[in-house]
Point group: C2
């Protein structure tokens, strides 16, 4: 019987695996790539205090999907979440979605795995679930599944930001799953099998593929580049920032919703870039817009990528070296009441737009303890003044409560929420 | 100055590099992957008798773009093709698109490379150009660039096939470029820089990303799976089939258009799959539809993937073991006057379709010496009878004359055509 192999299981590329993987890294062709990506076949542990896919060193590919719940039956929804959890636990370890697998069942029955990942290793797959506001209370305020009183205050709808051009059909949703992996076929396979299992209970609202992780989430990873050609993720909250993560990434019971303790809030924004215009912008202007140089990624006025920006420094002309409205100034914690984000976005190109331009941009993903204190103020200051706005447009938005990790076999996604 | 590194140049993964690359393969994590993919950073030679990207062992990722020519000026078009060739020669070797690069120019000028591939190796990038019928003669029959008399007879429009649901806005085009690479960021970067260079001369008509090459084009590659979960590419024309390639892949001067000698004709079809329906189809039915088993990929009645199908064999019930309307029977050379194809397609998922389903399928790519004798008859028999048609829909179509390779520095894409 053919089944998916579990390649190099051992420790996996969990937090603990990063150092170990560095040795394997020597075998890779491209020394610029991170050690975490050096064993792209590895499995990331599924069970744990926190969900994987948040501080896990960012994998190279994304398949993100938002779902509408199409049943009114709470028991069916909970049962599906239980099945999803079992399938996720299997797939993240490089196994088929179901016990029988793509080719192990009865010939007269549809397989319980779709088969396109047969022979592929786990590929660092993580599956991270989030619950949207509409799961708790629909637009008319109806408590759909008897959990309205458990809705975290942090799920307060995001305000309208200047320049927002959100398309409702690709925004929000009842549930989301972020699938990250080093092989798109594996990420696609995972979402598709969850959709298959959820048949009759959920329906895909929108889905997004991404590549070339912008935003490393570990100091062991080299910083990748976004489609504006700049290193993205230099000053990100990273898994090594243990104190900061405790303070600004993980929700606590004392924040209001006890079932969210150890979870995190996720903001997703599909940000379209008009790359054609950007590509005709002078280098100096591009660098002024971000406040960093393009080659090295150093803050303007400094030499190296990880040098501290000096926001007070002035040039010979008396003007600030890092412009008043530079992206890295406006987004910096010093100017946002100390707010940090754990960014984990991906580049996307979804064909072209019918006007001769690539439909390209950044699928922005940010995790945090409380969006009201983190994403919202940062995005407010960006939306107000960022010169980058001339080249970008936010076209979709989502806000999700991502519960803590599943701790073992009896546990499942949403157990504490629906308890 | 930062610039793109040329990783592991040496021999490159050209035809000659395949065997050498096998040794490196041992360093890879996933022994199911092909040796050709074992050095994913390598450069593929750009210059040669034939264009790269046809028999080159299929890379893992695709960015395909079709362009409309928006100028009426023949000289401008030819000049752009010259610039494209220079940029393609550079980018396929892991260099910036332009001489100055992403960060090497004047600060007051837009960079001559967009920068998102800085630090990334060549990644097996190939760029393959094709000319569409409309470049020679527009819909009204006008000879746009004085080359109408050079249009090959093999560019005869494809007939309408039963079931075709083609969308004109994502079909045809004046020019196409197939970018294949082992890193999507590299493939995206290449198309984008060609579009940037072509500003004012061409405009992107449509573009398509793909992953998980279905159809290996070398016996050294393991067969990948399509999104129906089946191995795809088992019986493909492959680079080792030297005689067959001469007979059925490369055009000759004696075929009619002398500038096409050493070139090949490309058919592209975006084939949407209704994967949700497929996933509810019993395993036995899925296998009957293709005429192969799902796990191993062996022809029904045989044990191993590369065993010869026995189309005459009957089961105990007196019915053919490989059904009369099985895909591999209908598409087999024996039933199509000996016609072979070199398939080189990619899986795609372009979000969802607004009806709760993934917009997923196969971006079918096939090269051949003469579509009138190869793609057309095969597709006619498939369109007429293939049971697979219940699960697929052809939504875009393109037919392209891909000229021979560029032989050296003085030469450029389209030189012989416009001579
Ligand atoms: C297409 C849109 C965007 C692009 C291209 C972009 C790009 C960048 C780049 C190149 C950097 C500098 C390198 C780094 O430290 O990561 C950066 C920093 C940052 N960006 Fe963005 N960004 C975008 C949108 C956003 C949004 C919507 C937010 C949040 C509301 C955001 C928050 C940040 C933060 C917090 C930093 C780090 C600031 C610091 O501490 O120095 N960015 N971004
Ligand atoms: C979504 C659509 C399609 C799917 C999923 C599909 C899948 C497959 C599979 C699984 C095989 C068997 C393995 C192999 O030998 O590669 C195969 C064989 C083949 N297919 Fe398709 N195919 C599709 C469309 C087409 C089209 C449009 C054509 C050409 C008009 C085509 C031509 C062939 C040929 C020539 C073979 C090899 C037949 C032989 O010599 O045994 N296929 N295809």
């Amino acid at each position: 019987m053919v089944s998916r192999r579990v390649a190099l299981t051992a420790a996996g590329v969990g937090i603990a695996g990063v150092a170990g993987a560095a040795a394997v890294g020597a075998a890779m062709m491209d020394e610029d790539r991170s050690p975490a990506a050096a064993s792209p076949g590895d499995a990331v542990p599924f069970y744990g205090e926190h969900q994987a896919g948040i501080v896990t060193p960012a994998q190279d590919r994304l398949h993100f999907a938002a779902f509408d719940v199409i049943t009114k039956d709470r028991a069916k929804l909970v049962e599906m979440l239980r099945e999803w959890t079992a399938a996720a636990a299997r797939m993240t370890q490089g196994r088929d979605a179901g016990l029988l697998g793509a080719v192990g069942g009865q010939a007269e029955a549809p397989p319980d795995d779709t088969g396109e990942a047969l022979g592929l290793p786990a590929s660092g797959l993580t599956l991270t679930i989030g619950f949207g506001r509409s799961l708790f209370r629909d637009a008319a305020g109806v408590d759909r599944f008897g959990i309205a009183d458990r809705m975290p205050a942090a799920l307060e709808p995001l305000p309208h930001f200047p320049g927002d051009a959100l398309r409702p059909e690709i925004s929000d949703g009842d549930l989301c799953v972020q699938a990250c992996a080093n092989d798109p076929q594996v990420a696609v396979h995972a979402i598709r099998n969850l959709a298959r299992i959820g048949f009759g209970v959920v329906s895909i609202r929108y889905s997004q593929l991404g590549f070339g992780r912008t935003s490393s989430t570990s100091r062991e990873q080299a910083t990748a580049r976004n489609l504006m050609g700049f290193k993205d993720g230099t000053r990100n909250m990273k898994l090594e920032d243990t104190d900061l993560l405790r303070e600004q990434l993980w929700a606590r019971a004392s924040d209001g919703a006890d079932w969210m303790a150890g979870g995190s809030y996720l903001v997703t924004r599909r940000i379209r870039m008009t790359v054609e215009t950007w590509d005709r912008t002078p280098l100096a202007e591009q660098e002024a817009i971000f406040g960093r140089d393009k080659g090295e990624g150093a803050p303007l006025g400094q030499a190296k990528e990880f040098d501290e920006p000096d926001f007070a420094a002035k040039g010979a002309d008396g003007e600030p070296v890092i412009a008043k409205e530079a992206h890295i100034r406006l987004a910096h914690p010093d100017f946002n009441n100390g707010a940090h984000l754990l960014r984990r976005g991906y580049n996307f190109v979804d064909g072209s737009d019918g006007l001769g331009r690539l439909d390209a941009g950044l699928f922005f993903i940010a995790y945090q303890r409380d969006p009201r204190k983190q994403f919202v103020p940062v995005q407010r200051s960006l939306a107000r003044a960022d010169i980058l706005n001339e080249y970008i447009r936010h076209v979709s938005s989502g806000l999700w409560a991502c519960p803590p990790g599943v701790t073992g076999d009896g546990d499942h996604w949403g157990r504490a929420l629906f308890a």
